[in-house]
């Protein structure tokens, strides 16, 4: 008996189970290899771009990337207080916005933060334009002392290594990018703020401007930093290159005549928005790399120090649009079912030759351009259009009270029902074709009347066709864009029209991505509900 319970062996002596699973694996791999090109294609051209777009709904790196110092300082600031942050925050904002303005990123950040707080866009734009005024106070004084303070080479000698300066002599644009200038360790320890600012300047001019720091006069930001360092630190022990120049400047800063400028006051002077508590609060709230702000906006909410709150009543729009999109898509689906069922029934029960002819009539509009069909509905439905003209001619409607059938929900539902009808007829037809006519005859011969025979015998068998058509039409309808745009007016537009607006006009891609993600989620939830209630196995496309 014990021998009989051992593993069954294949012809080559390996256990049958392993042999079988190997064969199956080979088969699976071959199948995978066959679909791989398509899979790869879909992945690269469809899934990846969608995933990338959806990722934007939470991505928010721009604030931290553009204002790194400010974000770090504000992390310790209590935004709930009505007090403004300390001087260090203003100092950090001056550095960040200055560098961002040189790299022309400040306006982009302004646009981003303007989504959350009106007025930030011009705050950043105006500040970026005027920020040189602060540093110029110091630059002018240092320059008056010694012209070398405004020249590239003396600065490079003060800050950079001799090896770098030798290498950069005689450099031309055609030679390709210059080596990175690294500030000497002794000067970085002596003048930390100046070294950091100069490093930014040198990196910018080498990498982004394609110019040698030897030829470029440093930013006024570097002069501001130099003042900060000289005012706070002692440089008397310095004996490196340009020591004379530095010590003279140190002596100048120590004189009572030396003019200084308070960064906080200067910023507020440029734009009084900097004195607005809300501006700082917004910067702090949106400094994390990821944000729920776009999703909150997509459900008519916004961030606040006390957590998410509803937007003002007169700015709530997306909830309404989502509800309307779903309602109208359902209305379109239902009217498609009602119109398509009899057509599909006739198609399925006519002799082949006649059915084919009718089928062409169904497919003909299907092959016509979407835009043409939509514009045709415009001509039909408008107040001076065909239908109204006929009604007036028949005397059913008076000339002064022509019906309004377009630029509202009615127009959208009519036009979209027409456009999506083939997607309902085709699956219904293919399911009805498989229902043997003998069933109906059998039901009648057993005593059912016409209605009972249809309702109890025929209809239940046609449900999979209705299911397939409904899913197709509903999902197509919920994402429709061009038809509602043309015939929908204000009350007949969908959420997709707002998504398109944010993609192409307002450039608020984060919000567009959040709305798109929600729309996708809504469709998936409805699909899941459909599966629970009707069962997805009950759907047949043919």
């Amino acid at each position: 008996m014990s021998e009989a319970t051992g593993p069954v062996l294949a012809a080559d002596g390996t256990p049958l189970k392993r042999s079988l699973s190997r064969a199956l694996r080979m088969q699976k791999l071959r199948a995978l290899a066959l679909v791989a090109p398509l899979l790869l294609f879909v992945l690269v051209t469809f899934i990846a771009p969608i995933a990338d777009m959806l990722f934007r709904s939470v991505e928010n790196e721009i604030v931290e990337n553009t204002l790194p110092r400010t974000a770090a300082v504000l992390a310790d600031w209590d935004a709930d207080h009505t007090d403004l942050p300390g001087d260090d925050a203003f100092e950090a904002a001056y550095y960040d916005v200055f560098i961002a303005a040189e790299r022309k990123l400040h306006t982009r950040l302004g646009t981003r933060l303007n989504y959350e707080l009106t007025g930030v866009s011009s705050l950043f734009r105006k500040t970026g334009r005027a920020l040189d005024d602060i540093g110029e106070v110091y630059q002018d004084q240092f320059k008056a002392l010694d012209k070398d303070w405004d020249k590239g080479t003396p600065w490079a000698e003060l800050m950079g290594t001799q090896a770098w300066i030798d290498g950069a002599q005689g450099w031309k644009k055609a030679d390709g990018p210059l080596d990175r200038l690294v500030v000497r360790d002794d000067i970085a320890a002596l003048l930390p703020a100046t070294a950091a600012a100069y490093q930014e300047f040198a990196d910018f001019s080498i990498l982004e401007d394609d110019k040698s720091p030897l030829k470029e006069e440093p930013w006024t930001l570097v002069h501001s930093a130099l003042y900060t360092d000289l005012a706070a630190l002692d440089v008397s022990g310095y004996g490196g290159p340009r020591a004379e120049m530095l010590k003279a400047a140190d002596a100048l800063v120590a004189t009572p005549e030396f003019e200084t400028i308070n960064t906080r006051e200067a910023l507020i002077d440029i734009e009084d928005g900097w004195a607005d508590h809300e501006v700082w609060q917004t910067i702090k709230t949106y400094s994390p790399k990821y944000t729920s702000g776009y999703f909150l906006n997509a459900v008519d909410m916004q961030k606040s120090p006390e957590g998410p709150i509803m937007r003002d009543e007169d700015e709530r729009i997306y909830g309404l649009l989502f509800k309307r999109t779903i309602f109208m898509s359902l209305a379109i689906t239902i009217s498609c079912v009602l119109l398509a069922y009899p057509v599909a029934w006739i198609l399925a029960n006519l002799p082949m030759r006649k059915a084919n002819l009718l089928m062409i009539l169904v497919l003909l509009p299907f092959w016509t351009s979407l835009l043409v069909r939509t514009s045709a509905w415009k001509v039909m439905l408008q107040q001076q259009g065909v239908i109204n003209d006929v009604l007036v001619w028949l005397g059913l409607v008076s000339d002064t009270e022509r019906l309004v059938m377009i630029n509202n929900q009615f127009g959208t539902i009519v036009a979209m029902t027409h456009i999506l009808l083939p997607f309902m007829i085709l699956p219904m037809y293919s399911v009805m074709q498989t229902i043997p006519p003998t069933y109906l005859r059998a039901a009648k011969s057993l005593g059912a009347n016409n209605w009972t025979a249809f309702w109890r015998v025929y209809f239940p068998q046609s449900v999979p066709g209705i299911g397939a058509g409904s899913i197709l039409v509903f999902i197509l309808a919920i994402g429709y864009y061009i038809t509602p745009e043309i015939v929908g007016g204000t009350t007949g537009t969908f959420i997709s029209n707002r998504i398109a607006y944010h993609i192409s006009s307002s450039l608020n891609w984060g919000l567009a991505a959040a709305l798109g993600t929600l729309l996708l989620a809504v469709v998936l939830i409805l699909y899941w509900a459909y599966d629970k209630i009707v069962g997805i196995d009950n759907v047949k496309l043919g």
Partner: protein
């Protein structure tokens, strides 16, 4: 994402290499210009491009009619690192946005553009139309109203507030489906002085007031998205009065002989012009700048006015504006800059809209759907 980026980058390199080899004096020999299509693009072809090609044989020009989506597409191109456009025609507001986003190149107008034929520097000659450092103005246009002359009888409107007067002018109105323009007119007709409008609009009460005024005609309005909608609606008799760009109305009136009249009052003066995308390779940039210098000089801007009723953005071009190239009618009286038409213009304040656009748009759209 890396894969896509590198595929796109390879394509970009191939394209760039292809055009670089053909360059004559460090200039690419092809130019991709983005414009609006239709009669406007045709006027650019006739006035700028054909003369330029005649002077520079061997240069090919490709058109892309994508100006309406230019901002979004340029942003996508910038992210993919593959700029396929050389020169883009945009509205002033979009020019400002592109500059803010770092997608358009800053221009030194005096350095890079031709001086006026009267000797004035380019920046003086263009004057206020340089709304942004990146923007090279071409034309002055205005958003104004056209009305059905047969439907208003003897009572042709002369005042902008006719749009709110449903007793004197019963019937539907066509308005742009965005706040800009509409809210200003609403406040103006609600009794706010012209100089105070943007101050009022900056307040919550002012915004509500503008929407309330628009609310008095809300159920009488057909909202349009494309500039071609209003002339069509007027021609069909669907609306009695409607706003659109003045060039569209001109072609409906003068070229198609529709029974439409022009209302020149408080029209929104606006500019349209070129921007150069940021990050073009050197040879293509050299070609673009060469073309721009030619295409925006005094004579060329005046020539364009022979094909379409938009005023040249240079002051020095005004005296050179002549007759319509095909109809032979004098063009000056149809220009938004003509003194008779410009008696009471409204100048859009771009700075305000850059800040309040998102906010007011959300309010306006919410108001529309309610």
């Amino acid at each position: 994402m890396k894969v896509i980026t590198s595929i796109l980058a390879t394509t970009a390199l191939t394209v760039a290499a292809g055009s670089a080899f053909a360059a004559g004096h460090g200039m690419a020999d092809s130019l991709t210009i983005v414009s609006w299509g239709g009669a406007y693009q045709n006027s650019q072809l006739k006035a700028y491009v054909e003369p330029y090609m005649a002077a520079n044989p061997g240069v090919t020009v490709n058109w892309d009619e994508s100006s309406a989506e230019a901002v979004a597409k340029l942003r996508a191109m910038n992210e993919a690192g593959n700029i396929t456009w050389d020169l883009v025609d945009v509205e002033a507001a979009d020019g400002i946005r592109l500059c803010d986003e770092g997608l358009a190149m800053e221009i030194d107008h005096d350095e890079q553009l031709a001086a006026g034929n009267d000797g004035s520097s380019a920046s003086d000659d263009f004057g206020d139309s340089i709304v942004s450092d990146c923007f090279i103005p071409q034309i002055v246009f205005s958003t104004t109203f056209g009305y059905r002359s047969d439907m208003v009888g003897d009572n042709a409107p002369t005042d902008i507030c006719a749009i709110f007067d449903t007793d004197a002018y019963p019937g539907k109105r066509a308005l742009n489906k965005r706040p800009i323009g509409n809210v200003e007119w609403a406040l103006l007709c609600d009794g706010v002085a012209k100089d105070d409008i943007y101050d009022v609009l900056a307040t919550e009460e002012g915004q509500d007031r503008a929407l309330a005024k628009l609310g008095t005609i809300k159920d009488q309005v057909i909202w349009w998205n494309a500039g071609a909608d209003t002339p069509q609606l007027l021609a069909d008799g669907e609306v009695v009065i409607g706003s659109t760009y003045n060039g569209r109305l001109f072609s409906a009136i003068a070229e198609q002989n529709q029974p439409i009249g022009m209302l020149w009052d408080a029209q929104m003066l606006d500019f349209d012009g070129w921007i150069v995308p940021e990050g073009l390779p050197e040879d293509r940039l050299a070609r673009v700048m060469d073309f721009l210098k030619f295409a925006t000089d005094t004579q060329r801007l005046a020539d364009q006015a022979a094909y379409i009723s938009y005023g040249p953005a240079r002051a020095s071009s005004a005296s050179l504006v002549g007759k319509h190239a095909e109809l032979g009618i004098e063009m000056a009286p149809h220009m938004p800059t003509d003194p008779a038409n410009a008696k009471n213009v409204f100048v859009t304040q771009y700075e305000f809209w850059a800040d309040y656009r998102d906010d007011l748009d959300a309010k306006f759209q919410a108001w529309l759907v309610q």
